[in-house]
């Protein structure tokens, strides 16, 4: 049982199933979705699909896109992934102004708040920086080399974020580690000064977000992990302020009583600007060594509330999406936080005619609090009510409506895709010994 589950994992890894990603323009002028090597952008201002222009290559990406991200001012969109290319797009002309080659596959991207530097992390755990100084909107840059600035020692970096004030860059990896580094004035000379390490997660860290409020302009760091917790950290000291056991507190564990057999992993976080809320996406993860598939009903999104004066995290609302097994693979919002956008999907579907699946949804009312109950008045929008309407869905999903069977078939692929992305290859003890049979420094038994 154990072996077969593992072989399945190995097999699907070869096919490189990638989860779908979403990014929202800071002022909600456009929405971008990536699935596999496909990049789709919809112009919300004019209500039309956008066609991208890239003089250097066609198609734009040759392999799965792993990150898409807008700059803080919305002038840039950066896409990167398994084809070892980082593409920087100008969002006015929708032209690729710059393609950076990476030595390894790219796993995370961050853009400095002033829009002058793009940082990306590769599969060796090295973070590189590219300066965009002197970049003009129409001019295509000549080739520029990325410079390594910091590294996690041989651990894949899952998330890269600039702090709200731009002083720090935080990086999270698959070895439970979060590093907060001072972002120097001259980044091309390297980022050597480590401000803190945030240590406490017991599984891979999958996502990071900075939260801040008027009273706390320096902000706090929030992280989500495969240990099914979301944690709140003090940035400067790296001390753990609070831990929210999301799956337990959202009632996921009690409802099935089989928590030993199933793990819930936090796969994405999205801080809702101008509020103390953090939206959390959760995946049910069955580990290869468990071997039992679990079919638990998961909520679409859990909203956590950070009380910054008490330094606590608590569940504010569980938003379930009825009628659909919608488990988001990526979340996004604009700076006005009018809508929380979600996407689920994978680049390859096993045992299905469709080649990929993407489903986009939006939630409104994140900033509306009912004066009577004090609760959030969130609504999961019907397809017709999503900004941009059916035209947007047609562009971003590839088709306006999606058959239910395809959707259900995708749920398992989504799970596998997320697992392969985040969990290290697991070997059973016997397999591990077999792999190490040539070793002669094995521990002596007493």
């Amino acid at each position: 049982m154990e072996e077969t589950a593992m072989e399945d994992g190995d097999h699907s890894r070869d096919r490189e199933v990638a989860p779908a990603l979403i990014a929202i323009h800071p002022t909600q002028e456009s929405v971008a979705v990536a699935v596999g090597s496909d990049l789709r952008v919809f112009d919300l201002q004019n209500g039309c699909p956008i066609s991208l222009v890239d003089d250097s290559s066609e198609p734009f990406h040759l392999d799965s896109i792993r990150v898409i991200r807008y700059g803080a001012k919305g002038k840039l969109l950066v896409t990167a992934g398994d084809d070892k290319l980082v593409k920087i797009w100008n969002t006015d002309a929708w032209r690729c102004i710059y393609t950076v080659s990476s030595e390894k596959r790219v796993s995370a991207v961050a853009i400095s708040n002033d829009g002058l530097f793009v940082c990306f992390a590769d599969k060796f755990g090295v973070v590189w920086v590219v300066g965009l100084n002197g970049l003009h909107e129409t001019q295509t840059l000549s080739s520029k080399k990325a410079v390594p600035i910091l590294a996690h020692y041989c651990s894949i970096i899952t998330s890269l974020e600039f702090s709200t004030d731009g002083r720090f860059i935080a990086s999270a990896d698959r070895d439970f580690k979060i590093r907060v580094t001072v972002f120097p004035k001259k980044p091309l000379d390297g980022a050597h000064e480590i401000q803190s390490f945030c240590l406490g997660h017991t599984e891979y860290v999958s996502c990071l977000a900075f939260v801040c409020a008027l009273e706390y302009p320096e902000g706090f760091l929030v992280s989500g992990s495969g240990d099914s917790t979301v944690r709140l950290w003090h940035i400067a000291s790296g001390s753990l302020l609070d831990t929210c056991e999301v799956s337990a507190e959202a009632g996921l564990v009690e409802s099935n009583g089989k928590e030993d057999e199933c793990c819930f992993a936090i796969t994405d976080l999205c801080a809702i600007p101008s509020s103390s809320l953090v939206a959390v996406a959760i995946q049910g993860q069955n580990y290869p060594d468990v071997g039992v598939l679990c079919h638990y009903r998961l909520p679409g999104v859990v909203l956590l509330s950070c009380n910054l004066s008490d330094k606590t995290l608590s569940i504010s609302k569980v938003i379930s999406i009825d009628r659909e097994a919608f488990i988001p693979t990526s979340l996004g919002t604009s700076s006005s936080a009018e809508f929380l956008w979600m996407v689920t999907g994978v680049s390859n579907l096993q045992g299905s005619d469709s080649t990929s699946l993407t489903r986009v949804k939006a939630i409104s009312g994140l900033t509306k609090i009912n004066p009577d109950s004090g609760e959030l008045e969130t609504t999961v929008l019907e397809d017709g009510d999503v900004p941009g309407g059916m035209q947007l869905l047609e562009k971003l999903q590839g088709s306006a409506s999606i058959k239910e069977e395809v959707f259900l078939a995708a749920a398992e692929s989504v799970k596998i895709a997320m697992r392969n992305l985040l969990i290290k290859k697991q070997y059973s003890v016997e397999r591990r010994d077999f792999r190490k049979r040539g070793r002669n420094d094995r521990k002596i038994k007493h």
């Binding site: 060796f124 910091l150 041989c154 580690k177 050597h192 420094d441």
Partner: protein, 252 residues
């Protein structure tokens, strides 16, 4: 101690563990995934396991001392043993990736503690990959001395990233060292000596000790004499290359 008498790995005359029963490969791949326990954070490091005489497991409070010296890749522990009596009030730890070698050092320390009551209680060893887990063991600025003696040279350029001194790892060492703390490196491989010197020279948070400072530092002399590897080099009449740097506040 009855156990020791029955243990063939322990010498009957000196009661020290015999090295030939702890033979190990000379090298270990620091890049591979680790399968030994790692403390979640520095506050999870169990001092009562490392220093049972100084941190009795029953008492939770009392001793707030922290480890100050770290010998990275301590090998058979020669330097630690010398430092232990030279700095009896300082807690020190050896970090070694090869488990058999770690076992040997553990036994050696236990035997020395028995043979010299009251001594060697400040020294300990742990099996870990220090290239990955330094922040799990030490808080920011906790260490005052770090040692990197005769590290694996990894000659091939492809394997340079396995070297224990590299520009990116120096960031982590600078994090663990307090300002003014000293980093000692020595090797018998000229190419590696130059590499380590170049890495340290190029790092904004390290500054070389002057000749007078080197002369005045008691520990510098131990680098080539106290370790098993250093003695071997001296025996064969080899040359050693040393780089000793102080952690400084970076000038921005």
């Amino acid at each position: 101690m009855l156990k020791n008498e029955a243990n063939p790995n322990i010498s009957k005359t000196t009661r020290l563990p015999r090295k030939r029963f702890y033979r190990a490969r000379a090298h270990s791949n620091p890049l591979s995934d680790s399968h030994f326990p790692v403390p979640i954070s520095p506050s999870h490091v169990d001092y009562s396991l490392c220093y049972p005489q100084l941190f009795p497991p029953s008492k939770q409070v009392g001793n707030s001392k922290k480890i100050q010296f770290a010998d990275i890749g301590c090998g058979f522990g020669g330097l630690l043993i010398s430092l232990s009596t030279l700095f009896p009030e300082t807690l020190m730890i050896g970090m070694e990736l090869r488990d058999k070698v770690t076992e040997y050092v553990k036994e050696r320390i236990l035997a020395l503690r028995v043979a010299n009551p009251g001594q060697y209680n400040n020294v300990s060893v742990v099996r870990t990959n220090s290239m990955k887990y330094i922040p799990n063991y030490f808080e920011k600025g906790q260490l005052s001395k770090m040692f990197f003696l005769f590290p694996d040279p990894h000659f091939k350029e492809k394997n340079h990233r396995r070297r224990v001194i590299s520009p990116h790892l120096l960031d982590e060492y600078a994090y663990a060292l307090r300002v003014g703390g000293i980093m000692y490196t020595i090797t018998d491989v000229e190419e590696l000596g130059e590499w380590m010197k170049a890495c340290l020279e190029g790092h904004p948070m390290f500054k070389a000790l002057t000749d007078e400072e080197l002369e005045a530092d008691l520990v510098v002399k131990l680098l080539s004499t106290a370790t098993e590897e250093g003695q071997k080099v001296a025996r064969n009449g080899g040359q050693t290359f040393r780089a000793v740097y102080r952690r400084i506040v970076p000038t921005i």
